[in-house]
Symmetry: C2
Subunit: 402 residues, 2 copies
């Protein structure tokens, strides 16, 4: 008998009628002879509604109390979904993160799962029950409720699947699967039947956020097969698995683009050891995530450093950068938030030299100036002007996919 | 240093501005040099809103899942109240029933507290924190979330006060304290400064529901001094304590009345052993609570049994009674839901013979027919016609109180 973990996000359980739909889908999987564990997020806008209450009380709620508050959202979902499943004549039982044995570290609001003790879940499965587990939450060693942060329910599902040695973890979402590019931007984009963990990881990190990178990492580390599919139709989704098990005949699997990018350049950084460390440690301490970093952009024999941050972090980053410039004796800095990152991703690139060059050729042909380049074994990313990103993505898709 | 447990009901924390008011009151108590534990209920209409969602999904939600759902209400309250207290510059920490060490039996939706392990609460108090505890909920031995049923937050507060050996348990409500009669019915009713546990128990049971009988029982058993007071003003409330410690110079402390009463009479019950047992065991099995029972209402040398139930239970009780009548061979039954119960309550009655006779005299003088009488050591209750209840209560108040 196969064990399947199914995860449904907040938009899939936004109201009672949608909850009933999810229940139908769950019992259908059960009817096919599977042991079924369901992980759910909070109903639709619940989290925002709870945060509205907080803002009427305080600007500094404290992360422990925020976790105490927000974790109620999933608890409402699991109770209602269990009721809806029971209503269909099946036997379901709901578990909070604590009851499901999900132990986390104590980094409130962005906790990491340390271990899962799936004993109770397994007991209920053995008694032929459908187990409904609250996503996004766990309990610390000292008995505190902690939430996992953005995309946490994906991680809960994958971690549970790993602990239960499940045969499949299905992530239900509002898209049909992973596409070769964003279909809203590239009309000819097609759904991928399969993709490797590494490719999925790069695509997720690059802004094609059908699945949180942390969840993909977890799935990769524990070799949990994932299926990403729509909760609103019955199409087969995209299978994410080991590179051996997925179709892998073309060098590039997908084209990603990300508009949530801003570029900052520091001019004339003194050429002595420890300068880069100084700059990026200071930014990290201010919790500003830096993505691409390019050093060695030589101008008049001086040393410039250019890097990217998310646009949301730009406003906080600028005064920090200004202070750094003064401190290290650089000559100044510039920034630009009208840029975009376009990337080609594919596990096949490793064995296909020249793919990067092909990418630069396509962009040049389209008259698109490349401002920054960054590469890994399975992706090439370029920073370009934002207003050229749609043209770039379509040209790259036509070149590498079809 | 005194330890004070304060309990605030749902109407006291119905919105963010009320929550801020409660926070002010809590820190005021802290400022007076006390160790403070606060027990809160769910925000205003939360429970009803959650049950509305349930009704859109199923008519038979199951009590375990209902508890899973409804217990989120208090969890929201404790997080928000802790935030509001922290915002005032004090240090608060919120605890679910589980975290506060409140263990219950597994009678979901009407669980009883089995024991309290207040270790974590005490640790936080020792670190000078204000501890905010979710009322109405606990955890079973097997790790299930269970709710305590109606008035459960009162019981949580009293039980915590007992476990912590608190000096006082303050129950904040929307009335100023315990009155000699319902002020909406008897304009001359006055607030009592103090009252004994037994008197409070009788008044609560008799429909003057400022405090749940279970909470009063708990307070009595563990000798927890209670103060019942308003969360909307600073008036001293009513102190509920041992009979020695309360003012007790008049035989009657209060006049209670209860309109939630229906009367059922079974005619010609065969005069053989076990008949009463048969009738009331059958009703108990159907979860119909019977209040007053009178046997020996002799009519034509036959044996009639009359009893009262709440009006809400009447509809369910009638077919049960009809079946019993057939089974035991009684001649028939009647019912009347246009009755009321009026009662005089006072610990001083024990040592004041003739109080009951005085009550009957007053009712007779007012031309009020008594349909049933029931007495205990500290109360006399009469069933009368509902439309005479206001006249009865006022006449009794004038006679016994002032």
């Amino acid at each position: 008998m196969r064990t399947i973990v199914q995860k449904f996000g907040g938009s899939s359980v936004a109201d009672p009628s949608l909850i009933k739909n999810v229940a139908q889908r769950v019992v259908h999987t059960k009817d096919e002879g599977n042991r079924v564990v369901v992980v759910v997020s909070a109903l639709g806008d619940t989290t925002d509604e709870l945060l509205d209450l907080v803002h009427k009380i305080t600007d500094h709620p404290g992360e422990r109390e925020i976790d105490m508050l927000l974790s109620t959202g999933e608890q409402v979902s699991i109770a209602l979904l269990a009721m809806a499943i029971n209503k269909l004549g099946y036997s379901a039982i709901s578990f909070t993160g604590f009851q499901a044995g999900i132990y986390t570290d104590d980094a409130h609001s962005k906790a990491r799962i340390l271990k899962i003790d799936p004993q109770r879940v397994r007991q209920e499965l053995d008694q032929d029950k459908i187990v409904v587990v609250a996503g996004f939450q766990g309990i610390t060693e000292s008995g505190e409720i902690a939430t996992l942060g953005r995309g946490g329910s994906d991680t809960t599902a994958v971690a549970l699947a790993a602990a239960l040695k499940a045969d499949l973890c299905e992530i239900y979402t509002d898209v049909d699967g992973v596409y070769t590019a964003d279909p809203r931007v590239v009309p000819s984009a097609v759904k991928l039947d399969s993709i490797s963990y590494d490719e999925m990881l790069e695509l997720a990190s690059l802004g094609a956020l059908v699945l949180q990178p942390r969840a993909v990492e977890f799935a990769k580390n524990y070799a949990v097969p994932l299926s990403i599919r729509s909760s609103f139709n019955d199409y087969e989704g995209t299978l994410v698995g080991e590179v051996e098990s997925v179709e892998n005949c073309r060098p590039v699997s997908g084209i990603a683009h990300d508009l949530n990018v801003a570029k900052i350049g520091i001019f004339d950084v003194p050429d002595c050891p420890g300068m880069a460390r100084k700059i990026f440690l200071t930014l990290a301490n201010e919790k500003i995530n830096v993505d691409m970093i390019i050093q060695g952009w030589v101008r008049d024999d001086r040393n410039d450093i250019v890097f990217t941050v998310t646009r949301g972090d730009l406003e906080r980053a600028l005064p920090v950068v200004e202070a750094i410039v003064k401190e290290i004796g650089a000559s100044g800095f510039v920034y630009n938030d009208q840029v975009a990152k376009v990337s080609i991703v594919g596990a096949g690139m490793v064995t296909n030299p020249g793919v990067a060059a092909d990418m630069f050729k396509v962009l040049a042909r389209e008259g698109i100036n490349i401002e920054m380049i960054s590469t890994s074994e399975i992706k090439v990313s370029c920073i370009i002007q934002e207003d050229q990103s749609i043209k770039a993505v379509n040209a790259l898709h036509a070149e590498f996919i079809k």
